[in-house]
Subunit: 439 residues, 2 copies
C-alpha cells in the first residue's frame, strides 16, 4: 500500500491497476504495428473498441460541428438527468433502432460512460455489501464499477455449459438463479441485483425473449433489481452469412429489454446503454440508464452532477442521433463491417484449429487456447498470455476476471485495428499455435 | 423517504433536492424576463454562471470545430488522468495566467466539473467520517460533494468578523484553525482537510500570500490536507476602478497556490481548478486537481474513469487553451466585463443603502438584507427570500447553507444575465427595499 497520506480506499486504488492487461497495453502502444513502417510492431487486440466505422462517423461529426450554431444551453448548467435535447434524440434513436417502440426521454438518465452509469446505478439501488449476480463469463470491470464507490460484491454465476470451457453464457436457468440466491443468503448477504449483458462480453451470446421474460418475472417477484446491459445492442453479427451460418444452431434475433420494462412498468427492471461500442466512441464518455422507477431516476439525478457529460458533446450527439437517415445507414454499414471482420477471424481460427464461441454480437471472439497451458491454473493462463504477447506481439485479454472456472480462454477484440493489422495478428497467432503443437 | 426499491443513500438522494433554490429556479426559468416580450418575467440571479463572455468564446470554439480535423485519439480510451494533449494545454494555460511559473502536465488530473474533482479528491484522501474545515461563509454544495460518496463531514469555521454579519471570510487565523482542530478531535473525529476558496464564493475575498504560506506550513506539519480552490482565479474585479476603489482598504493581488505547492513539494498540498467560471462554460464539465502527491494522482486516476470528461471536449478545449494570444485577450476582456457589471451592481446597492462585501473576484455580491427579516432565524431568512422572489421575480440564493451564523444575507450573481436584465433586477430590488422601509 502507498503512503498514509491517502484514505484506505485511495491507497487501495493507487495500488490496483485499472485492468490486468494495462501495462502490457502501454507496452504495445509504444511499439505499434504498421504494415510498412513497423511490420514487426505489437498488435493490441484487448481494448473493446470498434474503429471500423470511425472514418464515416468522424466526417459526419465534423460536418455537424462546422454547420450548426452551438445552442444557448450548452455553456450553462442543464438537467442532471442529461440535457433534455439530448435525451429526446437518444430516446428517439433507441426507439427506432433497439426498442422498436416509443420511449419516454424522461425515463433516461445520462452519465459519463457506461462505467459511470454502472457506478451510479449501484450507488442508488444497493447498499454496501449487497451482491450483484452476473452469469459467467462476463466483463471483468463490472467488479470495480459496482465496488469502487457503491461497495457491492460480484457473484459469478457459472453456467453449466461454461464449466466445461467455451460457452456463450446464455444458458442459465431459474433454478441456477435460485441456487445462487440460496448460497448468497446462506452467507448472510442479499442478492440485490442481476446484471445481464446482451449481446454478451466476451462471448457474443444473445439472450432469448422467453428467457428474459421469465427472469424478469422471477426478479420482480423477489424484488431483485434486474439490469440488462445492451451496450452491444447494435453491434450484431449477421449469423446468416454463408461463411458462418452453419455454426449456429438457431438464428436468434436480438430483442431489447425496453419493451418488457414497459409492459411490466415496475421498480425493479432497468436497462443500460452507451454510445461507446455501437458508435465506436468510448472516448466521448456517454452512457445512460433507462427505468420506470421514478425514485431511482430522481435519486440518480440528484447524485449525478459529478458524473455528468459535457453539454457540448451532448449537443453534438443530439444532432447526430437526430439524423435518422444517416443513423439508419450507419447502423447497417457498421453491422456489415463487423460481420466481415468477424467472418475473417472465425475463418482464421477454424483454419488454426482453435475453437471459439460462435458470436452473435459484441466486438469479441472468445477462444480456447487451453491446450497450450503448461499449468492448468490462473498463473498458467497468465504465463501463456504473456508468452503469446512476448512471442508474437499480439495482445489478448486473459480469461481470468471474466468469472468462470476454466483456464486458457482468451478474448480477442477484432474490430479495433485495421484489416491489415488483424490479418497480421491472425498470421502470428497461427504461427504460435503451429509452433506450440510441434513441440 | 421514497420507496424501499432504493438503497438508503439512494432514497436520501431522491428526497433531497440538489439545492435549496432549485425549485424556484425552475419556476423562474419557465417565465424568464425579456425586455420586450416578457418585461415582468422572472430574473434568476442565483446560478453561478458568467454569461458575459460567451458570445466571444462561442465564436472561437465554433471556429476551432470547423477548422480542425478531430484527432485520432478522440474516439478511443485515453489516460484516466485526462487526455495528455489536454493536460499539456491546461498546464501551459494555468502556468501563464494563474501560476506564473511552469507546471507539470503529469501533476494534473481531470474530471467532470469541479464537483467531480471535489468528490474524487475526498474519496482518495479521506475516510468516511473525516472532517473538512471550510472558513465561512462558503459554497453550500461542498457539503454534498464531500459527503455523497466519500462520506466526509463539513465543519464551518465561522471567522470572527463573519459572526457580526457581512465579512469576506479571509480573516481566519492559525489560532482559529487550532480551535477548530481541538473541537473536532474532542468529538473523536479527524480534521483531515482544509478547503480554501480564493477568490471566495460568495464573498469575493482573496487570501493573502503570507496567510496562505502560514496556513500551508501549519497543515503540512499536522498532515492535514490543504486544498485551495482557485476556480474563480481569473474572475477578478479591478479594485482600482475609480467608482469602487475607495471601498478597499488594500488592493490585494490574487496569487495562485501553485508556487507554494512547488516550493514545498509535499503530499498534503493540492489545488483545484475548473474552466466553469473563468471561461463561463460550466456546461462543458471540466474540472481538475493539481498535486505533487504521486500516490494521490495514481489512486485518483484508477478511480476516475466514471468521472471522466468527453475526449471531444478535451480535444476542443486543448485547441482553445493552446491559442495563447486569444486566451490572453479573452482573460483581460472578461475581467473588464466582470468589473463593469460589478461596478453597476455595487452602485445600485449603495444607492439603495444595502450593504455588501467589497468583492475582489468571483461572480457574486454578498449582501445584507437582514433589516427586512421578520424573524431572525433560518425560517425568517427563507421567508424573506421567497417573498422577494414572489414580489419582484428576482431570485437570489439565501445565505443558509453558506455555513455562517447570521441570517438575512444573500448572494447575488451579477454576470449571469444581460445588462438589461441586471438593471431591471436592481430596479425591482430597490423598489422592494423602499417598500419595506416604508412599512
Amino acid at each position: 500500500m502507498p503512503s498514509s497520506s491517502l484514505s484506505d480506499r485511495g491507497a487501495r486504488a493507487a495500488a490496483t491497476p485499472l485492468r490486468i492487461d494495462y501495462d502490457a497495453f502501454r507496452e504495445a502502444e509504444a511499439d505499434l504495428f504498421h504494415p510498412t513502417t513497423n511490420p514487426s510492431g505489437k498488435i493490441p487486440l484487448n481494448i473493446a473498441e470498434n474503429r471500423l466505422s470511425w472514418p464515416e462517423l468522424k466526417s459526419r461529426i465534423e460536418a455537424i460541428a462546422a454547420g450548426e450554431e452551438i445552442a444557448d444551453w450548452v455553456p450553462g448548467y442543464t438537467s442532471t438527468r442529461g440535457a433534455p435535447a439530448f435525451r429526446e434524440a437518444l430516446a428517439s434513436f433507441f426507439s427506432q433502432h433497439l426498442a422498436g417502440e416509443p420511449m419516454d426521454p424522461q425515463r433516461f438518465v445520462v452519465s459519463a460512460g457506461a462505467t459511470g452509469v454502472i457506478e451510479m446505478t449501484a450507488l442508488v439501488l444497493a447498499e454496501a455489501g449487497d451482491v450483484a449476480v452476473i452469469p459467467a463469463p462476463c466483463y471483468p470491470v463490472y467488479e470495480r464499477d459496482i465496488a469502487n464507490v457503491a461497495g457491492m460484491e460480484r457473484y459469478d454465476l457459472v453456467t453449466r455449459s461454461a464449466e466445461g470451457g467455451l460457452a456463450d453464457a446464455t444458458d442459465f436457468t431459474i433454478p441456477d438463479l435460485e441456487a445462487a440466491r440460496s448460497e448468497i443468503e446462506s452467507a448472510g448477504k442479499r442478492f440485490r441485483m442481476l446484471i445481464l449483458t446482451t449481446p454478451n462480453n466476451p462471448t457474443g451470446g444473445i439472450l432469448g425473449v422467453d428467457q428474459l421474460e421469465a427472469v424478469a418475472d422471477w426478479c420482480v417477484a423477489r424484488k431483485i433489481h434486474l439490469v440488462v446491459n445492451e451496450i452491444y445492442g447494435l453491434s450484431l453479427i449477421d449469423t446468416r452469412h454463408p461463411a458462418i451460418a452453419s455454426e449456429y444452431v438457431e438464428h436468434r434475433v436480438f430483442t431489447s429489454f425496453a419493451g418488457m420494462i414497459a409492459d411490466r412498468d415496475c421498480d425493479y427492471l432497468h436497462l443500460w446503454y452507451a454510445l461507446s461500442k455501437d458508435l465506436g466512441i468510448s472516448g466521448f464518455r456517454v452512457g445512460m440508464a433507462y427505468s420506470h422507477n421514478e425514485d431511482f431516476l430522481t435519486g440518480y439525478a440528484n447524485l449525478n452532477l459529478t458524473h455528468s457529460v459535457s453539454n457540448h458533446t451532448q449537443w453534438l450527439l443530439s444532432h447526430l442521433l437526430a439524423d435518422a437517415d444517416f443513423m439508419t445507414g450507419y447502423v447497417s454499414r457498421n453491422k456489415d463491417r463487423l460481420t466481415e471482420a468477424y467472418v475473417f477471424v472465425a475463418g482464421a481460427l477454424r483454419s488454426m484449429g482453435v475453437s471459439y464461441v460462435p458470436s452473435r454480437g459484441s466486438l469479441f471472439a472468445w477462444i480456447n487456447l487451453s491446450e497450450f497451458l503448461e499449468d492448468d491454473s490462473e498463473e498458467g493462463e497468465l504465463a501463456l498470455w504473456r508468452d503469446l504477447f512476448d512471442t508474437t506481439g499480439v495482445l489478448l485479454t486473459p480469461g481470468v476476471g471474466f468469472g468462470h472456472a476454466c483456464h486458457g480462454l482468451f478474448r480477442v477484440v477484432y474490430p479495433c485495428v485495421s484489416h491489415e493489422a488483424l490479418a497480421e495478428a491472425m498470421r502470428r497467432l497461427a504461427g504460435f499455435v503451429r509452433g506450440r503443437r510441434a513441440r
